[in-house]
């Protein structure tokens, strides 16, 4: 029995036990359902072993939506706890665990897979490629991310959740429970997957564009994905190293981030933000790319200032690496260092402002059509600008001593992430939904959702600016009535509840549209401008029967308006990669490896380490030349899709 005591949760509550029961029942239901409907083979052949970028993209999407609700429930619990003074809904320890989980889940396991979903699904189609450069690596990326996310998600039921904040600063993170072990190892596993995605997409975009598509003729979302991948490749190794050092501190007694023996706890904060700040731009740049596509599509005109859009993204990617110390202005460094990081931070507002003006000038004299994606995009511009302005306020290091660690900061970063990233994800989801599934989401419910989320967002986060300036600290689980924070926090809670209704409406919209939406739509239902709309819906395995030849940055629009011809020549046999189960199996071994390390189970840790290397060795000796799709098969598929 002693062996199993380590898996007990140190700080149980009824909510956690209820979650355990719910998780257990869900697993039983899924297994029973798959068995009853005989779907195990289908699941294995079509999804688990797939290397198709579109299917991998959809799996990222499903994971991201699941994690959105996980993180959203955490958010609601936090707002409910703070809604009234001296509330007893959660105790301090649970509150700590919940805000930590909320932060990690929303950034790393919701926003990241959501943007990678768009990169996976859209980029190869947009550049006229058949798949990504390394399809099997792409599958491994997904499964590593997924297993990392799952390892993190079981922490609150097995052994105890991390509780030191999503930043997990040492020495606070050097605690008694295994929570911080989960943090270090789960994020490490998911991070390796993300790093490989970055490499994969740089190669894909640089090497696999359709003939005629020069760099300056790439659609804006592809540009954003390229810059994002570059930032990923340069930022994530820092996280990898920091997490490895942290893991060694926790498991093997090294002294990197300790307070004595030459260790330096501040180094963790430093390394974390060397990764953490570029990470912010990893999230926002693809979002900007999606807005660019949507705003140009529904203004019915080309994107204003294409070159300045590209230039500002390149500049943002460079500046994103020289601002990180603004996250710890109050850590003790002098005015000189702080001033430098202040100025670099404020400088980022310039290229960002260029982009905002470009969108406004795209709207200018456009024939604007307010579809749901466009509604999100137009709501994004003023709401995001508000967050940008408070960002410049926070960038002033002298003034930051007032804002630091208050709800003002919390309001600021939610103000950029929700209208910036989340709205983009929902806009893009609505925009690309018909391309993925062959029917459109309901516009009326979609617009209701957009408005509810915007109003809920304003109610939830504007009061925090005020209470933050009045001194309400972040991460405090309660406050006394005499502070006067009560009424505004109640407004915040109401806002959060309205947002929750918005997210439920998204689920209802999917349900409603699955049942009632027309399947009789064209491959280009939005009258869009770029290549991803030039192929059939549903997109065939090989994407394009004939590789398109491109002459402008809006290839499809010029087909419609200038009589460009995309597809020249006849069908030829198409070379495609084979499916493989190895990425899934290897990632399962990674999961077991991570779990063993979390609980310091050395023998399983050694066995699984060997297993990981065996998988890699097998791959090195495997001869896999892919397969060909014959001209006959292409003709059959094409005529069937055309007829439908």
């Amino acid at each position: 029995m002693e062996f199993f005591e380590r898996f007990a949760i140190p700080h149980p509550s009824i909510a956690i036990y209820a979650s355990m029961v719910a998780a257990g029942l869900t697993m039983i239901a899924v297994i029973a359902g798959l068995t009853y409907f005989k779907k195990w083979g289908y699941l294995w052949r079509e999804w688990i072993t797939t290397v198709d970028h579109k299917r991998i993209g959809i799996m990222y999407l499903i994971s991201a939506l699941l994690m959105l609700f996980r993180g959203g429930v955490d958010a609601i619990m936090m707002r409910a706890q703070l809604a009234v003074p001296e509330n007893k809904l959660l105790d301090a320890q649970h509150y700590n665990e919940i805000f930590t989980t909320h932060g990690v889940v929303m950034i790393l396991f919701m926003a990241m897979p959501f943007i990678i979903f768009f990169m996976n699904f859209v980029v190869p189609l947009q550049i006229g490629a058949r798949d990504v450069a390394f399809p099997r690596l792409n599958a491994l990326s997904f499964w590593l991310f997924f297993m990392g996310a799952m390892l993190f998600n079981i922490s609150f039921m097995v052994g105890g959740s991390p509780d030191a904040g999503w930043t997990s600063y040492f020495p606070l993170a050097d605690g008694e429970s295994v929570g911080s072990h989960y943090y270090m190892i789960a994020i490490q596993i998911a991070g390796i997957g993300t790093l490989m995605t970055g490499i994969n997409f740089i190669t894909t975009i640089l090497k696999m564009r359709a003939p005629g598509m020069t760099l300056m003729k790439m659609p804006m979302f592809t540009w954003a994905s390229l810059i994002t991948s570059v930032i990923i490749v340069f930022a994530f190794p820092v996280l990898t190293v920091a997490l490895a050092m942290g893991t060694m501190d926790l498991l093997f007694g090294t002294q990197f981030f300790t307070l004595d023996n030459g260790g330096m706890a501040m180094l963790w904060a430093n390394l974390f933000w060397v990764w953490g700040h570029p990470e912010v731009y990893i999230l926002i740049l693809p979002a900007f790319g999606i807005y660019s596509e949507i705003i140009s599509t529904f203004s019915r005109r080309n994107l204003y200032g294409y070159k300045s859009m590209v230039g500002s993204m390149v500049l943002i990617s460079l500046l994103s690496f020289v601002v990180w110390a603004h996250h710890f202005f109050t850590m003790g460094q002098g005015a000189f260092a702080n001033s430098i990081f202040s100025i670099t931070t404020m400088a980022i507002a310039v290229p960002t402002g260029v982009k905002i003006f470009n969108w406004l000038l795209t709207l200018w004299k456009g024939k604007i059509e307010f579809t749901t994606p466009m509604l999100y995009s137009t709501l994004f511009i003023p709401l995001f600008t508000l967050g940008g302005v408070t960002g410049v306020m926070l960038a002033m290091s002298a003034a930051d001593y007032q804002y630091h660690n208050t709800m003002f900061l919390v309001a600021h970063f939610h103000n950029v992430i929700i209208p910036g990233v989340v709205f983009a994800m929902l806009a893009g989801l609505t925009f690309y939904w018909p391309k993925m599934f062959g029917f459109m989401l309901n516009e009326k419910i979609g617009k209701w959702t957009a408005w509810l989320l915007s109003i809920g967002f304003l109610l939830a986060f504007m009061p925090m600016y005020v209470t933050g300036l009045d001194g309400q600290a972040r991460r405090m689980y309660t406050y006394s009535e005499s502070t006067g924070f009560g009424p505004l926090n109640m407004v915040s809670f109401i806002g959060a509840a309205i947002m929750a209704v918005g997210f439920v409406l998204i689920v209802y919209n999917i349900y409603y549209s699955v049942r009632y939406a027309s399947r009789d739509i064209s491959a280009d239902p939005w009258d869009a401008r770029t290549l991803e709309w030039a192929t059939h819906t549903p997109v065939p395995e090989y994407n394009f029967a004939i590789t398109p030849e491109v002459a402008s940055s809006e290839a499809l629009w010029d087909v419609k308006k200038k009589d460009h011809v995309l597809f020249k020549g006849d069908y030829e046999k198409i070379h495609m990669p084979n499916n493989s189960g190895v990425p899934f199996i290897m990632s399962c071994i990674f999961f077991a490896w991570g779990f063993s390390l979390v609980f310091s189970l050395w023998i399983p840790a050694i066995i699984t380490t060997i297993g990981i290397f065996v998988c890699m060795t097998l791959r090195s000796f495997e001869k896999d030349h892919g397969h060909y799709i014959s001209v006959k098969e292409i003709e059959d598929t094409e005529s069937e899709l055309r007829g439908a």
């Binding site: 340069f234 501040m266 430093n270 060397v274 690496f321 260092a337």
Partner: protein
């Protein structure tokens, strides 16, 4: 015959051995910390550059531009990170 002899690679190999020997010298000869670190840093970066150009063929394909752009970008970011960290945590720490 001379076209077939990989002169560049052989010279590169000899040079990388020399660099290794020089770096090893820091262990065997008595020198100050500053001098030792300088020798190590210089030989390390030369060694890395040599490996990249001669043995990993960085400049020998049509992707030369993209590869070198990535390398330079990486070097810039590494330098900024190292010196920014020194500035914030050591030089300007009160």
């Amino acid at each position: 015959m001379s076209e077939l002899f990989p002169l560049k690679q052989v010279m590169g190999f000899v040079f990388s051995l020399v660099l290794t020997a020089v770096a090893l010298g820091v262990y065997y000869f008595d020198m100050s910390f500053a001098v030792g670190m300088t020798v190590l840093l210089v030989t390390a970066f030369l060694q890395a550059g040599l490996q990249l150009v001669v043995f990993m063929h960085a400049g020998e394909t049509e992707d030369k531009g993209a590869i070198y752009t990535n390398v330079y970008y990486g070097v810039i970011i590494a330098l900024v990170t190292v010196f920014g960290t020194l500035l914030a945590l050591v030089w300007d720490m009160g």
